[in-house]
Point group: C2
Chain length 215, copies 2
Amino acid sequence: MTRADSPLSPTDKPRRGRPRGAPDASEARQKLIRAGLEHLTEKGYSSVGVDEILKAAGVPKGSFYHHFKGKADFGLALVAAYNTYFVDLLDRAFLDEARAPLDRLRAFTETAEEGMARHGFRRGCLVGNLGQEMGALPDDFRAALTGVLEDWQARTARLLRAAQAQGELGPHHDPDALAETFWIGWEGAVLRAKLELRPGPLRRFAGTFFRLIES
Amino acid sequence: MTRADSPLSPTDKPRRGRPRGAPDASEARQKLIRAGLEHLTEKGYSSVGVDEILKAAGVPKGSFYHHFKGKADFGLALVAAYNTYFVDLLDRAFLDEARAPLDRLRAFTETAEEGMARHGFRRGCLVGNLGQEMGALPDDFRAALTGVLEDWQARTARLLRAAQAQGELGPHHDPDALAETFWIGWEGAVLRAKLELRPGPLRRFAGTFFRLIES
DNA sequence: GATTTATTAGACGAATCGGTCTAATAATAA
DNA sequence: TTATTATTAGACCGATTCGTCTAATAAATC
């Protein structure tokens, strides 16, 4: 064994020719994801054409079908990208030890409202949008979307348990049930805010939610 | 004035030729509305084509464009039809004097769940569906959809006030805010139930909602 | 250099989109 | 019957849908 193997390649297949770039690093791919998120959070999956995204991203069709198997595959990639973005947003609020747990949840709702305001309440939640369109989507989306929501809920339940531990939330509450109800309602509020183009529904839902669980 | 005027015609224009049928009675129109509701509650507006509805209704294209100005006009007619159907459903539950007011709201959620179960949780709420698609819809839809939701909310607030009058609901609650929160959450629950193809979200939301306001 | 593979580039195609159009048929008044 | 209007019937149209295909270019190894 005189020659050293490529140190990072897991399989010993001797690769030749131009190497694959890091699977996500491709500039074209990133531009497509970004443009896709902007368009799909606003208009959903069915009413946005591939060509529309290509034009917005400034990327030719060849690249799109090189990086993605098709529109559905692209959609699933968007869900994954949206989830990592969103989980980061959640963590930033939920893990802020400077605040009391319940206050962190409230802080999230405020940050989310600012996010919607930044786009004139025209962009909603990708997961909510696609969930509503599920009847017209390939079936893989179902597991992907529910998985994402369950993840968000689990993080929220954890937060609510911390609130209970600190006596901020009554011990008679069920954190899991409460977390699920929160996300059910929050998705509804985002939908409604997008419909009315104003923050009212977000505030109204968060307001009554917190008032009810704190009494 | 020897000759009697047509007793029902409001304007005195002497109409000749084949008379217009009652604007809603047309069989073709009814079939289109029914097929449209079935398809749009399941798959939304953007992903359902006019041809698909024609085929399901067994009605030729000429009829469609005779009765409706276009797809958007048809969509608005569907919203109106859905609203009258839904308001009837609401009234049947909300005006049932045999039950206590809050119990009538609970009865509605149960009836609604049965309705969704009847279609395997594949059909959602037309208003929620179109609301989510608002970014891709003609702007007339916004007022139509918000109007419908406000109507449902007003009926619910009335019911909640009755609950307060009977001491079933604490006087510190704001019926209007509570009604809005209910519908925000309920739409979210319907969306989620459709995504998961099961009644869990409906029950979970209704359960925590009633538990919270009754404590 | 030659070779091999990754990626870009966009013309092209079959299918479907919403919508128009003309002709036929139905139902009534005159 | 004749005239007039409502309604049905579906062929047809231009635009857009998602996806394929071939050729060119880039980046690496040998």
